[in-house]
């Protein structure tokens, strides 16, 4: 919504791509819904709602594609750094919470996701990550008694 306005109207690939994704999802729902069984109006099958919603989605996506066919919005400048850092950070937490325990997993989550903000020094990242990992475990593991273990042993 806060995109900068370009000078000329042009075909916007992002907007169209999103419309296509929406339309394809709708089509998938219709197809799957018919597999589940559409039923009749008197006795609706489990596929009735998916088909209806999917069809609505297709129509709306077509409308969006038409509405945004030429948009003055420029393609967004994606903040790659935070996007990747947070994806890897949360991914690391998910991967290691059961393997290595809560403290290492939290440390990795915080440390990696803080790389997303380039203005922060490595020292701050290290200290914050260690601090949140330990305090977080004390808070949730000890005080709240969540069944999570601190380390892998």
């Amino acid at each position: 919504m806060t995109n900068r306005v370009g000078k000329t109207q042009r075909y916007n690939i992002w907007e169209s791509a999103i419309a296509v994704i929406l339309a394809l999802s709708g089509a998938y729902m219709v197809w799957q819904g018919l597999e589940y069984g559409f039923g009749s109006l008197r006795r609706m099958g489990p596929g009735f709602f998916p088909v209806t919603v999917g069809a609505a989605l297709i129509i709306l996506a077509l409308g969006i594609a038409f509405e945004t066919r030429s948009s003055t919005a420029s393609n967004p400048n994606l903040p790659w750094r935070p996007l990747i850092a947070i994806a890897v950070g949360l991914g690391a937490f998910a991967t290691f919470i059961n393997l290595l325990g809560a403290i290492p997993a939290t440390f990795m989550l915080i440390f990696v996701s803080m790389i997303g903000d380039r203005s922060v020094s490595w020292k701050t990242r290290l200290i914050t990550a260690a601090g949140i990992a330990v305090l977080g475990f004390l808070f949730f593991g000890i005080a709240f008694r969540l069944p999570i273990s601190a380390f892998w042993w």
Partner: protein
């Protein structure tokens, strides 16, 4: 009178030590997130929801609700002092509140905001006590046809009112309905859209969606953004906050106007605190003798919107509790939270569980009182909270999100889900797809499907049922009107798009 015994019953529950404690915790968290820009009330409530599973349902709801209205109070602090609204509604308060700060009247602006919120909230709570049971009584006559129609009305209204492209809002509503379908079908047990993952058998969890769309997405958009640097608002003493008699006289009428505007709009389906707040501000500007004062520190411009937003937050509970129909995304989340706690809001809720209902309502008032009494002297502390750097705040939030969503089922899958919804939400923000209709659709979808099936079962497959029953017919007519209006505005938007920048 009957209602008095009910209120007494509510008081008994709400002043129990556990209720008081969690009410306090709730409003404190609420103020905290309201003060902080970049942390919304919805993100905060979804962060806290997993940790309320172990609490008594009444206490859990008292706390979660406290976060909502607490955030309204907190939001005004940051917007008045620093012109950084912590919540959307607070943006309106900033229009006149911040100029007041620049004129050295910060204390009075803050006091006005607090007292207006309190009065607005208190009146709205009384309205809630009167109207919720009445509406519930009326709704006892509803059959599935009416329920389906009113839910459809709520969805359509919310998508129509959302700013930006109508088509995009409607598409998000449909996407929400689609996501709500995931899991096993209630009637037949057929697995729908589970992609053979056991984790999806019970559907996608509300917590993952809300945390992703409103938590992670918000973080992704905020990192590296502009943040207020140094904060120096000077000392605000309690003494400087007390307005003069003349000023008090000036704000009473705006507070009342704001309250009733807010209360009325808040109770309507599809329109939340945001609409109410903007409306109240617009009305003040209309009735003012000298509209040019607005934007330059008019005290009415703080009083009316603050009263309106708090009143609307309270009355928004009327349809949610009496009909089970949430008006906006926040209430949709509340409804979802209640369902998780095994409470089904609706006409029977008030009759069958009076202690929960009245306890909750009375706790609103206690919470508002706590906010008023605590916030005025504690303003200094809240202001200091603003100096927490974002690079400490967002990792901490990510940790709360990760551990919170993990602790629901101890499933790693849910963490990936949050991440996925975070990315989806980020792109939705970027391209002007609103998240609120999606959440609303997700929560109402399963209920709508159920009622739709039941209604058509009753009518033996005839659609007549939706227009032959008078109440349902009225809802249907409103839906049709809203759709016609949307269609009209879509077409008009197309015509104008040539000379208007499109987001």
């Amino acid at each position: 009178m009957d209602i008095l015994t009910d209120i007494a019953l509510g008081f008994q529950r709400a002043i129990a030590p556990d209720a008081l404690l969690f009410c306090f915790i709730g409003v404190t968290i609420g103020t905290f997130v309201g003060v902080l820009p970049g942390v919304g009330a919805l993100a905060a409530v979804s962060l806290c929801l997993p940790f309320t599973y172990y609490l008594d349902p009444t206490v859990a709801l008292i706390m979660l609700a406290g976060i909502f209205y607490g955030a309204q109070y907190g939001g005004s602090i940051a917007s008045i002092l620093l012109n950084v609204p912590g919540t959307v509604t607070a943006a309106v308060t900033a229009l006149d509140g911040n100029p007041m700060t620049k004129q050295g009247r910060a204390g009075i602006a803050l006091f006005t905001a607090m007292i207006s919120s309190f009065i607005g909230g208190s009146i709205a709570i009384v309205l809630m006590m009167l109207f919720t049971p009445m509406l519930a009584q009326f709704a006892l006559r509803f059959s599935s046809a009416e329920y389906f129609m009113i839910m459809l009305l709520g969805l359509i209204a919310a998508s129509t009112i959302a700013p930006g492209s109508r088509l995009k809002s409607f598409a998000m509503m449909a996407a929400g309905l689609a996501i709500g379908l995931v899991g096993s079908d209630l009637n037949t047990g057929t697995m729908r859209f589970t992609f053979d993952r056991i984790e999806l058998t019970d559907g996608i969890s509300l917590v993952s969606i809300a945390m992703g769309l409103f938590g992670v997405a918000e973080i992704l958009s905020s990192i590296g953004g502009d943040r207020p640097e140094k904060i120096d608002v000077g000392k605000i003493r309690l003494k400087s906050m007390i307005p003069s008699r003349a000023e008090l006289g000036k704000i009473i009428k705006p507070i009342l106007r704001g309250t009733f505007t807010g209360a009325g709009i808040g109770a309507l389906p599809g329109s939340g605190a945001v609409v109410a707040t903007f409306m109240a501000y617009a009305i003040e500007k209309k009735v003012a003798k000298d509209p040019s004062r607005f934007g330059n520190g008019a005290i009415e411009g703080v009083a009316a919107p603050e009263a309106a937003n708090n009143a609307s937050v309270q009355t928004a509970f009327i349809p949610t509790l009496s009909l089970g129909i949430p008006g906006d995304a926040l209430m949709a989340f509340m409804l979802g939270a209640m369902l998780i706690h095994g409470i089904v809001p609706g006409p029977r809720f008030i009759i069958e569980q009076p202690v929960i209902f009245w306890g909750l309502v009375v706790s609103f008032w206690i919470g508002n009182l706590m906010l008023l009494v605590l916030n005025l002297p504690l303003i200094g502390i809240w202001v200091r909270m603003l100096s927490i750097p974002y690079h400490i705040l967002y990792p901490a939030m990510l940790f709360f999100i990760a551990i919170g969503v993990y602790s629901v089922h101890y499933q790693v899958f849910d963490i990936y889900m949050v991440l996925a919804f975070g990315f989806v939400g980020f792109f939705m923000n970027k391209f002007g797809y609103p998240a609120a209709p999606l959440l609303l659709g997700f929560i109402l979808g399963p209920l709508m499907e159920e009622h739709f099936k039941r209604a058509l079962l009753m009518s033996r497959g005839q659609f007549d049922i939706f227009w032959e029953r008078p109440i349902s017919a009225v809802f249907l007519a409103i839906v049709a009107m809203l759709l016609a209006y949307s269609l009209f505005s879509i077409v008009r938007r197309q015509k104008n798009s040539k000379n208007r920048p499109e987001a």
